[in-house]
């Protein structure tokens, strides 16, 4: 009985490790195709539009409400120690270091990883990927590489925009509800914010963007047949991207700020 349970556990662990290995090899192959010609600038620009520009509303709305709620929470906490003046700076630091990149990344993962996995998965099951090959076009170069590059470049920009909007969300609550003077709020935000606070969040955004496109393309390319197969690929892409973003966030935070 115990032996069976251990064997099942071992099989699960081996399958998980094999899956991670396959994704790592796929990522390596994607980067290699990104570096070698031919390049597909039209597909890159289209991916940039889909992943970056069209995600702006989702990221913006997430950021404004997060910034506003964060300001309220920090005010509630800091008022216990009569330290309400830290609200602008802590809100800004919290947004740019953690909540901006992580929540922005998760929202983009939900929107983009699912859409890439569904699109590529449908292409797989309708033989469009095979058609690409017969038309002398490598699917990794045509489908994966442009999306990897577009997501890696556009998610940090989304995070940057989200940071600004999130800080403004905090400012709206701070000045409208909590009685802060507008100029003082903005001055405190600006003065206590360091370059690396923002920079680390943008680097996280780039890593999260890469993860999002990688998971979308990987699960799409490995989609099984039929509507159910594409549905499963889409779900797996979002789950894997979200977990990988949270894990990467911890590792990057450890690397940037643990000293």
């Amino acid at each position: 009985m115990i032996a069976h349970a251990l064997a099942a556990l071992g099989r699960g662990a081996l399958a998980a490790l094999a899956g991670i290995g396959r994704i790592a090899l796929y990522a390596g192959s994607g980067v290699a195709h990104l570096l070698r010609p031919p390049y597909y600038p039209r597909e890159f620009l289209q991916a940039l539009l889909q992943i970056g520009w069209l995600s702006l509303p989702v990221v913006g709305l997430t950021a404004v409400f997060t910034g506003a709620a964060l300001a309220l929470q920090i005010y509630a906490g800091s008022s216990r120690f009569s330290a309400e003046s830290v609200v602008p700076s802590i809100t800004a630091i919290g947004m740019v270091r953690e909540l901006g990149p992580v929540l922005g990344g998760l929202m983009v993962a939900a929107r983009v990883a699912s859409s890439i996995a569904a699109e590529v998965g449908t292409m797989k099951v309708t033989e469009q990927i095979d058609a690409l090959v017969t038309l002398s076009t490598h699917p990794m170069k045509y489908l994966t590489a442009p999306r990897l590059l577009a997501a890696t470049l556009s998610v940090p920009i989304l995070v940057g925009v989200g940071d600004i909007i999130g800080i403004m969300g905090g400012w709206m609550v701070g000045t409208g509800r909590l009685g802060f003077n507008s100029t003082t709020y903005l001055k405190n935000t600006w003065e206590y914010l360091e370059f690396w606070d923002v920079g680390s969040g943008l680097v996280k955004g780039a890593a999260f963007g890469f993860i999002i496109a990688l998971m979308g393309c990987y699960y799409g390319m490995n989609s099984e047949r039929g509507a159910q197969g594409v549905g499963r690929a889409t779900k797996s892409a979002v789950v894997a991207a979200s977990i990988a973003i949270l894990a990467a966030n911890y590792l990057l935070t450890e690397a940037f700020f643990s000293a």
Binding site: P38, Y40, M123, T126, E127, Q128, V133, T134, S136, T137
Partner: protein, 248 residues
């Protein structure tokens, strides 16, 4: 021109091809018939390198295809997929001119669009479909666009995978006639996979029947009707009784 020698392929425990030997001469039109799940599509995909055979050799003009430069090899082929496999995100003309817009056969966009229009006219479609998306076309029109894409770069070899599946008899007749005309006009070598005996008679010079992972019978279209092979007779007459099990 194309020779297959001892091609085997298994998916897990399921042995699909068990040593297929086949050859097609230059300019010939070979139709491969056989029941569902006998590995006809797998055979085409093995030739194109979309699926790697477990064993055996495939030669194109005497050269092992594994040794041929991939891009140059694929540039000699065109393929009409069963479901059309048109790219949803591209308008019709970019689907047809896909190969002419990128890679070694790249042309200026205006020239590629002109060629796309010329090929669309060849398959009976006009200027009005150029900027439509595949989802806006009927099944028959999608097949025609896919056929136009297959011939756009004037390949030496064209594969047709179930070209008339899902079409009404009249549209199927039109597609069969187009395939025959185009193959003859271009002097291309063609391999077609089909269950449709009307297509076989319209398209084939040579016929090969695949059964149980092997070539059960091969001969000319004239010999097909007179052969005493019970497998061929059962298949072409669509009989439930015979050596081929109805439930597979």
């Amino acid at each position: 021109m194309i020779e297959l020698e001892g091609i085997t392929k298994a998916f897990g425990k399921k042995q699909v091809l068990r040593g297929v030997n086949l050859s097609v001469g230059r300019g010939q039109s070979l139709v491969v018939i056989g029941g569902s799940g006998t590995g006809k599509s797998v055979l085409l995909k093995c030739i194109l390198g979309l699926i790697q055979p477990d064993d055996g050799v495939i030669r194109l003009d005497g050269q092992d295809v594994r040794e041929a430069p991939r891009d140059a090899f694929l540039a000699r082929f065109g393929m009409l997929f069963q479901g059309g496999a048109l790219f949803d995100s591209l308008p019709v003309w970019q689907n047809v001119a896909f190969r002419l817009l990128r890679g070694s056969l790249k042309r200026p966009r205006t020239e590629a669009r002109e060629i796309a229009l010329e090929k669309l006219r060849r398959v009976g479609l006009g200027e009005e479909v150029l900027d439509l998306f595949p989802a806006e076309l009927s099944g028959g029109m999608q097949k025609r666009v896919s056929l136009a894409r297959a011939i756009a770069a004037e390949p030496e070899v064209i594969f047709f995978d179930e070209p008339t599946t899902g079409l009404d008899p009249i549209m199927a007749g039109v597609i069969n006639q187009l395939i025959r005309e185009i193959v003859t006009e271009m002097g291309a070598t063609a391999i077609t996979i089909t269950h449709d005996m009307t297509s076989v008679r319209a398209i084939a010079d040579q016929v090969a029947m695949l059964h149980d992972g092997r070539v059960q019978w091969a001969g000319s279209i004239a010999e097909m009707d007179t052969t005493s092979d019970p497998y061929v007779q059962q298949f072409i007459h669509g009989r439930a009784e015979g050596p081929i099990a109805a439930l597979r």
